[in-house]
Symmetry: C2
Subunit: 435 residues, 2 copies
Amino acid sequence: MSETPDSPAETGLRAPSGARDMASRAAELDAADPLAHTRDRFVLDAAPDHASGDASVYLDGNSLGALPRAVAGRVADVIAREWGELRIRSWTESGWWTAPERVGDKIAPLIGAAPGRVVVGDSTSVNLFKAVVGGVRMAGKGCTEILVDATTFPTDGYIARSAARMTGLAVRPVEPARIADEVTERTALALVNHVDYRTGRLNDLPGITHALHSAGALAVWDLCHSAGALPVGLDAHHVDLAVGCTYKYLNGGPGAPAYLYIRESLQERFESPLPGWNSHTDPFAMDPAYAPAEGIARGRVGTPDILSLLALEAALEAWDGVSIEAVRTKSLALTDFFLECVSAYVPPGRARSVTPYDHQRRGSQVSLECPRAGEVMDELIRRGVVGDFRRPDVLRFGFTPLYTSFADAERAAWVLGEVLGALPEVGSGTAGTGG
Amino acid sequence: MSETPDSPAETGLRAPSGARDMASRAAELDAADPLAHTRDRFVLDAAPDHASGDASVYLDGNSLGALPRAVAGRVADVIAREWGELRIRSWTESGWWTAPERVGDKIAPLIGAAPGRVVVGDSTSVNLFKAVVGGVRMAGKGCTEILVDATTFPTDGYIARSAARMTGLAVRPVEPARIADEVTERTALALVNHVDYRTGRLNDLPGITHALHSAGALAVWDLCHSAGALPVGLDAHHVDLAVGCTYKYLNGGPGAPAYLYIRESLQERFESPLPGWNSHTDPFAMDPAYAPAEGIARGRVGTPDILSLLALEAALEAWDGVSIEAVRTKSLALTDFFLECVSAYVPPGRARSVTPYDHQRRGSQVSLECPRAGEVMDELIRRGVVGDFRRPDVLRFGFTPLYTSFADAERAAWVLGEVLGALPEVGSGTAGTGG
C-alpha cells in the first residue's frame, strides 16, 4: 500500500484535457467494456442522451444499489407460493431455515472468504456489536482498549463505545494510517472502515491487519463501502472479524440484512453478546441452557427476516460469472474517467476532489468538495444526476461497475460543470441514507 | 386473574358432548361470527369439506401467520416503483425513513399503547437485549438480579443471561406465578412471557406488573404469543418495556421485524446498548459523539429493513375496523369449541390438554400432550391439518380469529380423532420455527 499522503491539495483535480471529445471517449470505453452486459441485469432509466438533454444518471449506488431485475419475480414467488401456499412448511421445504448461511456463502467469494465464514442477518450496527464484543472476548486478558477509526462512519464509533462500556474497556480514536504506530499490547482490537464513507479513501487492509496482529490485537473491518466494489481478501489477509451491509454495491435493497464474517480458526472461540435461539446448536430442543452452534451459525441471533434475505439472494444473481477483479478494473477506470471529465467540464477552482487519486487508496466513489454543496446536489438531482450530499460540503458520486457506464460518468460531469458554472439560487436539503 | 391451579389433570378435556352434531354447530357459529368477513383478507386454502374428505386447515398461525392479501401488491410496488424507480429518493418521498415509528403506531392500538411508544425493527431477540439492558440501566443502583420466566421461550433466557453478564447482574429463573413472592428490592426487572409458547398459558400481566412495581422492579413483557390474539393493555397496566414479534398473530411474514415498546415516562432515561446511527438525534450530522433521539426513535439501531417493514405495514391492514376485544371473544370461543370437539372425537385417554381451561389463563392456542406426538403431527399435516409439534410430546394448535373458522376447528379435531384412534407407523420430525 502506498504511503503517499492524500491531503486535498495533493489530490486535486488534474488539468483539463483540452479539446478531446469526452463523450466520444465514453462511447469507446463503453464499447470495449467487458462488464457492459451486466447493466441489463438491473432496472435503470434510459441511458443519458446528449441530444435530447435528458440526463438520467444514477451515481448513488454507494448509498442504495439499483434494483436487480431478478428481485421482483423471486420475491413475488416467496410471498405467493412459499409463504402463501406452503406457509410454515417453507422453513424446511423452501430452505428458509438455512438461508442465512446459504446467502452468506454467496457473498463470501466477493469478499475473499471460503464457504462457512459468512452469515447474513441483522443490521450492520447489530453485527458490529457482535463483532466488537466477540473480538474483545477473544483478546488477551490484559487488554484495556479498543481502537476505532477516527474517520469512521459514526455508527461504528457509537457501537464500539457501547461494546467497550459493556466489557470494561476504553475506546481510542486513531486515524487509520496511524494504527500501526498506535497499537500496543493493551489493544484488544481495532475497528476500521475499509473505504471511508465520506472521502472514498481506501484504507490499507493488509498492512493494518498485519500491524494489529504483530501487536497481538485483532482486526475488525467494516466493509460497507468496499464489498462488491473491489477485492477484499478476508481469508488471504487473515482478517479476524468483518461486517458489511448489502444494500450498497451488493444491491440487496433498502435496509437489506447485513453480514458477519468470522475467521475459521476463531469461530469456536466466538461468544456472541446476542445469543438468540437461532444460534443454539439445537434450536428446537428449546433448551433452557444455551449451547452455541458450531461454525458460522453461531453468529445468528433471532428468526431470519426471510423476505429481505431472499430478495438479497436474488439480487446476488447479478454477480453470476463476474469476477471482483474485473469489477475493480472497471471501477478504477470509471472514477479515473469521471475525474478527467470533471477537470474538463468544471470551471477551475469550483470543486476539488477529496478522494485519493492514487489507485491504491481509492474506493469506488468520487467525493468533491465545493461551496453550497447541498444546493448543488439538489440541482444535480433536478437535472437527473443522482449522487448525494454529506454535510457540510461534500458531493458524493458512487460508481457501481455492474451498471454504471462511462457515458453516465461523462454526463454527470457535464451537468456538474453546468451547475457549478452558474450556482443557482435554490433550496437546500437532500434525501439519502445508508452512510 | 384467577388463582385456579392448572395442572394437566385439572385442565383435562371435558366429557364427550354426546350425539350433538359438531359440524352443524360449527356452521352455526361461523354464520353468527362477526369476524367471519376478515377471513377474505387472507390467502387460504378452500374451506374444509366433510363430504369430499378434503381437509385443509391451517392452525399454525401462532408460529407463522397466513399471508394477508394486501401484501403481494404492496411489496411489488415497493420493489418496482419505490426502489426501482425512485431509488434513494424513497427514503424521504416514500416515507421509508419514518417507517419504524409509523408501523409501530399501527401496532400500538393492538397492544394498548398510545402513539409514539412502539418502534419496529430488528428481531425479537435483539429487542429483548435492548429492553433488558435498557431496563437494568434504569433500575436502582443496588439491584443485583434479573428474574426470568422459568418456563420461557429459550431465547428470552439466553438473552437475559447475556444482558446480565454484560451489566454485572445475576439471572434467577422463577415461575411466573411465583414472581410476586420472589421479587425483592434487589430485583432490577423481570422478563416474562405474556403467553407461554408451549402450553398456551396466559400469565397475569396486570398482577405481575403490579407486584414488580411494588418491589421497585421493572416489568418487561414478551408479547410474541399474545399480541394480535388478546388485549394486552400496556399503557393501562403501566408496563415498562415490552417486545414482540410480528409474524405470528400479526401476520407480518416469515421473520418479519419485531417491535420494542418503551413506557412514555421512561423513554428519556432509556439508554440502548445498541446505539446505532438511526437512533441519533440528527443522523445526517454524522456526529462522532452519540446523542440519542427524543422519544421512541431512541429504540432504533441501524438502517431499517424496508421490504420486510412495508410488507408488515400492508399486513396490518387486515386489522382495519377490527377491535382486539372482538378478536379475544372469538379466540376463546374457538378454543372452547376445539376442546369440545376434541372431547367428542378423540378416544378417551389418547391426549390431554396442557392449556388452561380457565379463560383468564388461556391464550389463543390449544396444546395437547400425547404419545408419539411428532409422528401424530406428521400424519395430521399429511391429512391437511397443520399445527406443529414441540418436543417431547406436545401438539400445538393455534387459533387466529381473523381467519380461523369454527369449521376449521371442528375438522382439525375430527382428523385428530381419526389419527389418534389408529396411531400410524410413520416417521418423525416436522417443520416449524418461530417459537
